[in-house]
Structure formats: structure tokens, C-alpha cells
Symmetry: D2
Subunit: 337 residues, 4 copies
């Protein structure tokens, strides 16, 4: 029975805590730490049967019984805590991104080279049933050589302007998931990026120096082309689709909804909207990613998403950010770190 410590008791920390408690066979949460530890979190921990709650995450790192930590705190603390946890000999699951600063990601990777701990990054979409089905079809050669990948990724609501200001920009905050998907679905590296974007939803986002609508074209090492379209606000809910087109055909996935019910009346033939947002859509994917992290530790196998995957996605994000500003295609090799 692996003992887990969770650092950061926000929404995603609790999602992982609940997943481990309910679905993961070989692990249990021993402690949770949050700098803003409050009564609600204490109660939640009690419900989950988590014995220890701390304000200071270092107590988790100091606990010799704890085998692995989940870093679910704010992004600016990810790399610092990652390094401390690695040094403390803990296996680490770190929410995305590892850092907005490439040099700090590099420090984490350097630290990992001196260590034998497992380090997994939280790209949850790789564990989604639909995207896994796309990956599987591509990997099995069902569509031949991939030529074109289209990803549609749109949120139902923009985040708060306060969040936008510290988010690192749409490409590092939101599109980063899609950049990882591009690499995952095509099994090839990105060579060049061209990003176009605009502020069409909320001028305040523009004033905060960001955009809310984007189309990003990517050229892959394999020769394939990929395109991502993003919006911060889809009126009908969380829109998460992908299509890979290749020499023998195409594989595509649609959104999930709450039921397959279709109502036909004089007004039309109406089905349900997509599931509202990431918690609804990816709940099972979150459980699956943690489960595979635990398995990798227990069986001493490779983690499914490693620090290098974390780095690559940020590199592409930096290239996209630069491309948008310069209004020209940017090679990944141009990004220094």
C-alpha cells in the first residue's frame, strides 16, 4: 500500500484525493497540505479517511512513510516543490505546467537525472477514453500515415481576469493541453508553429495582454500538419474534439454528453449539450492518470507522461506566444532555454 501526500487542496487536489481513495487499489492518501488549510478541507479529508492535514507541505516531504507526492498547488510553486520533493526521494506527480519559465523546468529535469524517482506530468487528456481511441487507431495504422490533425478545444467560460494576468497567456495555460495532444496523437515532434489570435470575447482579456480566440498551425517532424482552434467561451459547453486524417482514412471523436436523449418536435431534433467543463468531461481520465502513476511506481515502469513531455509542451507554448507577437512562423529550435 503506497502512501501518498497531496500538496495543494484546491479543486484538482481534491479530485485526485478522491480518485485515490475510491478507485486506486494500491495506494492511500496519508496527508494533504494546503497553505490556506480551512475547515471545509479538514472535513473533506475526514470524509476521505485522510489522517493528516497540514498547512506546511514540508511536513509531507519529511514524512518517511510517504512514497509519492502530488503537486497540485499554484503553478509558480510547481518547480520549486518538484525539486524539493525529488531531493526528499519522493515520486512526484506534478500538475501542468511544470513552470512557465523554461530554465526552471530544466532545473527539475537536471535534478531528476541525479535521482531514481518517478516524475509524471498532469496531461490528463491522454487518459480520456475518446482521445485514447484516436491514439489507438493511429498507432494501429488504421488511417495509414497521418497527414492532418485537427483539434478543437474550447472552454465554456473564460477564467477571471486576475487569473488571466498570471496564467502565462492562453498558449501556456489552455493550449498547452492541445500541444501535448498534438505530440501524443501524431507520435511526432513539433518543428514549427504559427499562431494567430484575437480578442473577440472580452476586451478585458485584451487589456490583460492576452487573447481569447486562436488558431495555431503546427508542422511536425513527420511532415504532417496540425491545427488547433481555441476559444475561451463556447456557449454550448466544453468543446473537446479531434480528427486525424491520413493516407488510408480518418479517425474522429466527438464530445461526450450526459445522455444520448434526442427530442424531436416541431422545433427540430435536439440532443444534449456537451458535458459542461473539464471536471465533468475528464473525471474518469483524472482517476486513470493517477492510477497509471501509482502503477508505474509499484511496477517500476516508465510513467506515461514524463518531465520531457512537460518541457516540450511549454516549448511549443513559448514558440506560439512568440509567433503571435511577431506574426510569423516560429521554429521550436528558435526557443532558447
Amino acid at each position: 500500500m503506497l502512501k501518498i501526500g497531496i500538496i495543494g487542496a484546491g479543486r484538482i487536489g481534491k479530485v485526485h484525493g478522491e480518485s485515490i481513495t475510491k478507485y486506486v487499489k494500491n495506494a492511500e492518501v496519508k496527508a494533504i497540505a494546503d497553505v490556506f488549510l480551512n475547515e471545509a478541507t479538514e472535513e473533506w479529508a475526514k470524509d476521505m479517511g485522510i489522517p493528516n492535514t497540514y498547512k506546511d507541505y514540508k511536513k509531507i516531504l519529511e514524512d518517511d512513510e510517504i512514497d509519492a507526492v502530488l503537486i497540485c498547488s499554484s503553478t509558480d510553486t510547481h518547480s520549486k516543490i518538484s525539486i524539493e520533493a525529488i531531493r526528499a526521494g519522493k515520486n512526484v506527480f506534478c500538475e501542468k505546467p511544470i513552470d512557465h519559465d523554461l530554465s526552471r523546468i530544466k532545473e527539475v529535469i537536471d535534478e531528476l537525472k541525479k535521482s531514481k524517482v518517478k516524475y509524471q506530468v498532469g496531461f490528463n487528456r491522454r487518459f480520456d477514453h475518446n482521445f485514447k481511441a484516436v491514439r489507438s487507431a493511429v498507432a494501429k495504422g488504421k488511417i495509414g500515415e497521418p497527414h492532418i490533425l485537427k483539434i478543437t478545444s474550447r472552454d465554456p467560460e473564460p477564467p477571471s481576469i486576475d487569473y488571466v494576468k498570471v496564467s502565462g497567456g492562453i498558449f501556456l495555460d489552455m493550449t498547452i493541453h492541445d500541444f501535448d495532444m498534438v505530440r501524443y496523437l501524431l507520435d511526432s515532434e513539433v518543428v514549427e508553429v504559427y499562431a494567430s489570435g484575437n480578442v473577440l470575447i472580452d476586451n478585458a482579456i485584451g487589456k490583460a495582454g492576452d487573447i481569447d480566440t486562436a488558431i495555431v498551425t503546427l508542422k511536425m517532424k513527420s511532415g504532417a500538419l496540425a491545427v488547433i482552434d481555441n476559444s475561451r467561451k463556447a456557449a454550448y459547453g466544453y468543446d473537446q474534439r479531434a480528427e486525424v486524417f491520413g493516407s488510408l482514412g480518418q479517425v474522429s471523436v466527438e464530445n461526450d454528453s450526459n445522455s444520448s436523449a434526442v427530442i424531436s418536435t416541431k422545433d427540430g431534433v435536439t440532443g444534449e449539450k456537451p458535458l459542461f467543463f473539464f471536471l465533468e468531461r475528464y473525471m474518469q481520465a483524472y482517476a486513470q492518470e493517477i492510477s497509471e502513476f501509482i502503477d508505474a511506481i509499484v511496477n517500476d515502469t516508465e510513467v506515461p507522461v514524463n518531465a520531457d513531455d512537460g518541457l516540450k509542451a511549454v516549448l511549443i507554448g513559448e514558440a506560439a506566444t512568440k509567433s503571435l507577437k511577431a506574426n510569423r512562423p516560429v521554429k521550436i529550435s528558435e526557443i532558447e532555454y
Copy 2:
């Protein structure tokens, strides 16, 4: 170039006239006759380039240049004109049903035995792209041995009460198409029928001695079972679907609509309604059935829907009518004629 005469210039007569003029290579309409011949019809005939218009259909039968007639007049005249046309040596396309009276259908069949003319009955759905695809899948063995057939057949609006009174009842007027579909899709004969029904849409239909909602179960000679559900009023339009389930799987068809457009908003994901009614849904099927009738004459081959098919559908309709009244299953062999 075959010369055609059309008897009856109502809606369906004009549909056929237009089809022949526009789509059928080897035929042209020489004359149209209608007991209520009016200016609108004269104009329509002129537009179509039809040289002769009559009040008396006998002028068509007397015209030696005319090779084939289309009987599109009211149902109570079908069998009489059929016999006269056969005796006049004309090939005959007769709208369904040949007659409500089985003995008169028999007279037509007897007359045909003495003649060499072609005689086709207007079961247009056999020529619909969707139902043909079902038939083709079944015939090719794609679903193995058929076990269960489900037909959904619902009109968008009930006919006038005046029409209901002379319609012969829902089973001879509306379900008769579905009875033909059962035989066509399963390529087997009906042995027994159980009909249940109710008046749920308009009490006036009940007062006229008919029902407006029905479920009919049919046992086939092959052992397969079939079920038809009917309604005189589907709020969303003409509902025409079928599913055949067999030992190796299932083939099913959906309704056609005007476009594939789907609009997703905060209110749901909405597509178009089915095409409104039979003229919209079956326009191409009407052209196809006439085209195959002409082909059968030109090439001296079997017509795709013969007088026996016309008889069988009425027999099943009679059995269904009897079943509903007696509230028990009725064997086709019980129906005398």
C-alpha cells in the same frame, strides 16, 4: 419513344407527369385526362409539353399511339379502369391500392392472365434510397437470417375526415405501404397479423370508425417477426424508418432532412426535422418507380411491383382490420376472396 397517358391529374398524377418529362429517357406523356379538368391543369400540361388534355379517360384508352397508362384517379376507379386498360392492350401503372375490395383485385388479376401487358402497382417506397439500402443489406446476407423487422411510419398530419371516411381505414390507406415494405424487406410472406390501435389524436377519426394510432405485429413464413407502428400525426414531420435485425447484426435507416446542419447553443444541439411529407421524402422514389416501369416495358422484363404484390398488401390490410375488430391474431389464410 414510349407514349404515356395519365389518368387522373391530381397531385400524384402531376408528380408522375413531371418525372417522365424530366427524368425518363424513353418515354413522353402524350395525354392527360381528368374528370375535373381545369385551367390550372391545362397550363401545367402546356408547361410540361403534354399535347392532349381530356375530361374523359376513355380517349386515352382509345388512342392507339399510347403504349402505357398511369392510373392516378380516385381509388374506387382503379380496378375498373385497370380492366378497361388491360383490355385496350395498354401497359398499366396503377396507384395503390388496386381496390379495397379483394374480389375486384382478383378480377384485375384474372384479366391480366389473359393479356401480355405489364401491370405495376405504385408502392413507391421500394424505390427509396434508404429502404433500398436496407433491402440490399438483407439480400446480401450482411445481417444473416432476418429475425425482427421494425417499421416506424407516421404522417405529419391526418387527412381530412371526409377522406378518412372513404379511405378504407388506416390499414388499407396508410399501413398498406408498410405491409408491402414488410414483404419487400424480409423477402417472405406474412402468415398472421395482430393489430392494436387507438384514437389518440382526433376523436373525429374515431367517430368516422377509424383509429389514428396503431401497432401491428406480423408473423412471417420464414419465422421472422415484424412490427409496424403508425401515427396519423407526428409533430416533427414525416417519420419513415426501418430496422432489420438478424443473426449477424442489424441494418437501420433514419429519416432524410433538408440539410445536415446542426446548431449548438446554450439550449442544446439541434438538427433539422425530417422532410415534411411524402412529396418531399419520396420525390426521387416516384421518378425511379416510373423509370423502372418504362424499362420493364421497353426491355420486356418483369415489373418490380406486380398485381400480386398489390393483392397481398390488401390481404394483410384486411387481416389487420379484422384483427383490430376482433382483438385477436388473424391468419392471412382466414381472409377469403
Copy 3:
């Protein structure tokens, strides 16, 4: 924290045990009893953290700490254990059917009248996301007055012939779920049943006195008509669909599948098959039904499926069985008990 005892450690007993352990907040399994208790079950209980395992279910009934029992043993023991459990003051969740013998169901109901315990019957489909969406649309009047209900319910594989022999026949074993669905989706009682059926899949099923393919028509007190089609073997997997058609339109639900992936190649446009069988399709529904049972106890509210629902479904099953044998419609009021 409610303490639960599970009687019968077969497939469904374990499903419920796991659901309670993982998803149900206010309950925990204290004991499990199985007359064939073996090592695998002992291990499973250990995994789940269930402290007590017995061969004799009476030890559960005698345990004063246990608030509720789940009867998941073989059908022939349901009514007997139900009565014993009620007498022991336990709340009871009983798998369907309560009994094949109507008089024994009546005994259970009589016993319940003398008691204050909750008694819920295991019609899991009422808790399925799709069927709940149909029910909700109907209840909210979105399709107006219901006129026609169509249920398609087909298993992927027939049970063993040994099972068929003791199953009570297809209508009491398999269609019983659909009979409950008819009552649930239309919120009306069945008045009359006509059942047609055949042996098309396996002659051994016929030799065992049963059928494997059926179409059942039901007349409702509300005037609506319903039709169920069943097969013991759908090559493509578990087929569980429903459509309710009414004065204002229709609501329909499709099967669930593992993903929405569609592969388009020169051979066609291919999606995934439906989920294979009931464990895959209804896993969440099983968790939900147990959760609502626990809630009803904790909050002292009505159970969502009561003993009368259990009785009604068997009554309809008996009427269908009689209808098939006599080849005539059978009124529910004809069935004595």
C-alpha cells in the same frame, strides 16, 4: 454510517459491494454471506475492507448492528429470505424478480404491511442516465401526451441452457426489465398484453420450453400503446434503446459505447459497438440504485422501486407468458394471485 449485509456473493452481489465501498457515503458493508463461500470471495471481501464473511446468511440477519440487507442470492430464495429479513427488522434491497410465484410475492407484500422497513426491488435500468433522460422528458411534458413507446432490448449472448430451464422463461427473466420500463417511462399501468415469439437462435432454447426472439405489444390504461422487441443474441452487443412518441413529438435514446471514435476509410464510416453487456452498460446505474436505497433509509423517504413495482412486472410477465401460449391478447386482470 449504515451497516450493510450482502446475501449472495455472485456477480451482482459483488457489484453492489464494490459500489457501496467506493461510492456510497453513508454506508459500509459489514458482512457478506454466500452458501458457496470460497477463497476468491474471501479475498475480494478483504480488498473491499468487509470484515465478516459467512456461509450462512442467517448470521447477517442475526447481527443487530446491520441495518439493511441486499438479497443477491438465486431467485428461488428471494421471497423466503425477504420475509425473514423483514421479520428481523432489516431494510431490504432485493434483486429482481421477487419470485416467479405470484402468491409468494404477495406473502412478501403482506409481511411488509406489518413492518416499517424499506423494501426496494432491483430494477436497475430506472437509474440509467439514458432512460432517466427519457423519463424526465416525458414527465416534463416535452413530447405531450405519450402515444407510442418502443423498447428494443437484446442481449449479446443467450444464457446457458441450464439457466434457461430455471429462468421462468424469457418474459420473467429478461423482458421483466422492459415491463418495468414500460410502466416507468409511461407512468401508466399495463392493461393488456399480446406476446408473439419464436425460436430463431438456438433450438436447445426451444427444447427447454422457451423462446429466444419476441415482440410484445402492451395496451396502457392511459390509452397509449407500447411494444417491446427482444432477442437473446445481438451480434453487435447489448442493445438497449427506447423511444416515446407523443402528441408534441418524440424522445429517443441510443446505446452507449466505449468512445465516440469514428473511423472513415474506403470501407465505410465505422463507429464502436454498444457496450458489451449489462455490467458495462449499467455499472453506474447499479451504484445509483444502491445509493438511492441508502438515502431512502437515512432520510426515511419512499424507495424509488417498491415491492408493488416488483409484483406488477411479474404480473405482466405472467400475462405475456399466457398470451404466447394461447396466442391471444391477455388482460392483466385475468392473472390471478
Copy 4:
């Protein structure tokens, strides 16, 4: 009755000839001219009832009875014949593109300024039922302000290498239709284009100086973004889809297929492929565009696609071509003519 002359009796010339003969009320084809006039074309003209066939198109221009000409000859003759026809006072329908050379398109436009004839360009997709439904939804404000347009446009087979060499490149030959669609669906002008592409299907296409796979991003005057993805070879058939996403939601259209038949077996749930190519998919659109051209002449109203539309699409094509070569975004205002 308008008299029409058709110049060029290739595939598309015959499509229009047949459309006019069969579907267009107020027009008839009086003559067809083709520099390679052969027996097959003579026979086809006879079938259609077209009285005159010529080798020299000038005979059509000289015929005072002819009101309008359809220019369906090879692209390099379009602008020359356009100018001659305008000077001869004929209304002109010209297949796309007017010319590969922008200065020659300008000459046609200059000629038109001196004349009162109608001039329509053959962007047939504007008349497709699906794309019209998208345009209609956008125009009615159903999706609010448009933010993102996605067009997928893929051919089932690449053209011959000989054709590729004279085609003007993929953007002027194939994507030109999509460029027109972008303007039509968003009702806004293109400001800037970024084109990425590759040779993934056939190296011979690369050797001929062209690409076979492309993603083009377009910035619109309205602020909206658009993306087009093209392939010269989709294994599953002609892929013609569009999605417009806006502030209130999204409208999308799928491919058409021959029937809605879906076959479910142990191997999956399989529907039909898209209609094979443009003749199958756009047959009705071709009839509709000619019909609207005739209507514009008869009623003296604006043609639905004018010479300026023809110019704009070529301008965008030139910008895309330049963008691909320079690997940078190109403003439409950079293209001189």
C-alpha cells in the same frame, strides 16, 4: 424562353446542359460548341434536344437569338471568351476561375463596366443545401458574431500530373472554392493569409511544383479567424464540411451520403461513405446555380456570384501561394494587379 449557348462540352458543360434541359423553366439550350466536338457529344446534344453543335464557339457569339452563354472551356480561355461574349452583348456564366492572371480578370471587370450584361462566376458550393444552411444560420444571427470558421475540403483522388502542371497550383485550382466559401459563410473580407503545406500523397505532385496537403489560416476584416484544411486524396471520398463558431454557439454540416443505412455487426457500427466526388455531391447545386443565373437575367436582378467574387477568390489564392513560398503571413493588400 431564354436561349442558351454552352461553350465547352466537357463534363461540367454537359452537367449544365442537362440541368437547363431538365430543371430550368425559362431557358433552353440552343447550341453547344466544343473545339474537340465528337460523336458522343453530338449524340448527347441530340438526347437533350439541343439543335446546334459547333466546333467554333464564335458561332454562338454571333447568334442573335442566344441570350446567354456558359463558358465551360479550359481555364486559359475563360477571360478571353468572357470579354468577347460581353462585347457580343451576351449574359455570361463563367466557370471558376475567371483567370489565373489577375490583370486579365481586371480586363473582364473593366469590360463589364461598359456593359449591362449579367456576369456570374461558377462557385457552385454557394448553392449546396448544407452550406446554404450554414450561411442562413449565420445570417440569422443564430450563432451570434462569428469567431472561428473551419472548412475541411478534401478530394477523393488527385488530378493527373498533366493537369497539376497547368492548374495554377492547389490554391488557385482547389482551395479557391474554399476561399469563396470563407467570404460567403462569414460575409466578411479576407485581410491576411498564412498557408502551410506539404507533399504527402504523391511525390510527382511535388516535382510538378505543387503540394497536395495544406492548412491555410485566414484573418478576416471582421476580426474572425478561418482555417481551411485540404488534401488531394481522402480514401473515404469527397470530404466537404464546414463549422462556424460564434459568440452564441456553432453551426456545422456533415457530408452527404447515398443513404442513411447503418449496419451493426460484431465488427462495428458502419454507415456509408460520403458521396464520391463533386458531380455526386453538388449535382443539385449545379442545377440551382444555373437556375439562379437564368432568374437574374429574366428578372434583371443581381447575380448571386459576380465577377468581383471571382476576383477576390483569386486574390486570396495568390496571397496563399505567396505565403507558402515565403513561409510568412501575406496581406491581401500586398497582392498587386
